[in-house]
Amino acid sequence: MMKRLFIISIIFLISNPAFNQITDSKVLNLFASVKQLNELINRFNYVSDNLGNKLDDEFKTVISRENYILSLFNFENELLNDSSYQNTINKFIAEVCDTLNPLFLKRFSEGILAELECPVIIENREKLITLYLLPEIGENGSYKWIIKDIKTDLYQHLEKRNDTLVFINPLNNETGFISLQRIFTEKTIPVSNYTTDDFTIDKLSLFFNDIYTNRIKFTTVKNCTYYIFDIDGWVLEVEEFIRDKKNSGWLINNLQKKDITVTQFLDQLE
């Protein structure tokens, strides 16, 4: 399969006349790479080439949709050496390229989750947090990203502890709830232990407050992984591979046979 993938990549490159004028291999590789997520989607849907030009009949004669989709996988993923994973990919491609019922990714879809690994500065130390962003489509067909969730251990000290029994005593009201003074100054027991059984802290709100009060400084987005749920029963994991090769840019690094929605996927990350 790897040999087939390599041949595919060479074929489709040399078929594009725009490359004839470029002699620098580094530049050639940049042009050949999957430069944007939008490009991956258009290539997956067999709509355009690596320069955004609509695919013509000549191209389609040389490269089938099956092989074109295959070229969007990360060739250097060791999973590709596993025959069962190869079968999973073949099954997926066969399903997506079914002539009677071909399947496509939506160009602008709510079935995409962006997982961002971001270094932040807190108390002069760098820590990594993970933000989850989802697209939202408005009534007028508009599109935007929204911050949906955060994964971090920055607020672990606020989480409920199950190893200790603490409570506001049943007659504390008669003393004007005087124990609240101790509860809110004591640091050893999280205050959340004094809430309802199903209480959970809202990490996202805490993070926003810390950003707003300058306790945390956001620096940049270090890594981005997309999870695409557009094809029912499948989850595509897309990452950016920066390397001086034609098989680079935004590539499918993992494919899972999984019947799961974006919300269910987010819930399982907790």
């Binding site: 006349p17 725009a18 470029i22 620098d24 580094k26 530049v27 940049l30 042009f31 790479s33 430069k35 944007q36 939008n38 490009e39 258009n42 690596n50 320069l51 955004g52 160009r107 602008f108 408005g138 007028n140 067909g141 508009s142 599109y143 935007k144 940049t220 920066i242 001086d244």
Partner: protein
Amino acid sequence: MKYKRVILVLAFFSFSILSFSQNKVAVNKESPVVDEINLSSSDIEVFKEKTKQKVMEFEQHIVTIGSKDEPDEKRNLAEREALKLFYTGATMETSYVEADGTIVKRARPIAKYLSRLKSLPYTKVVIKFYDIAYVTDFVKGPDGRYYSTATIIQEFTGFSGDNIIYKDITKKEIEIVIDLVEDKFFNEKQWKIFLGDIKASETRNA
């Protein structure tokens, strides 16, 4: 042949956009500047081509600004013209490959970047751009504007005399915005393309 066809298509669509502007967006004086007007898919395709023109215009200004052989007056003019292409508040991320291979990135307001480009510590700077690598499909934002991204590939060479001191190849992503702007002279609204933030997504030693 391919380029001739592109130029003809661009010329045709430039004319038709003007017609579109005059027929469809003439509004009364009391309308808000940004109306809920949708671009058709064929209009969007036209704007994709116009985006390439706008990006090429920017690239040409960068080449002029960076070139120490050009007279100061021309470089200053290019700097002013380049700035006009951008949305207010746009930033440019630059990247530099250190001797040990680490890549250092820094974001600056466009005006600062352009000013700094004129005074880089080289005796000669040559900036070369390849054909625009990719332009994404336009998508409508909640504010009624249309958004896209263009990928360009830039080669930067810095000289000290005849010696190349530094050379790199950078892939950059440029945010593109189409906005409905009021033309006070003609008292009508026209769609206009603006450039936004620019990210240096990948840099390699050349």
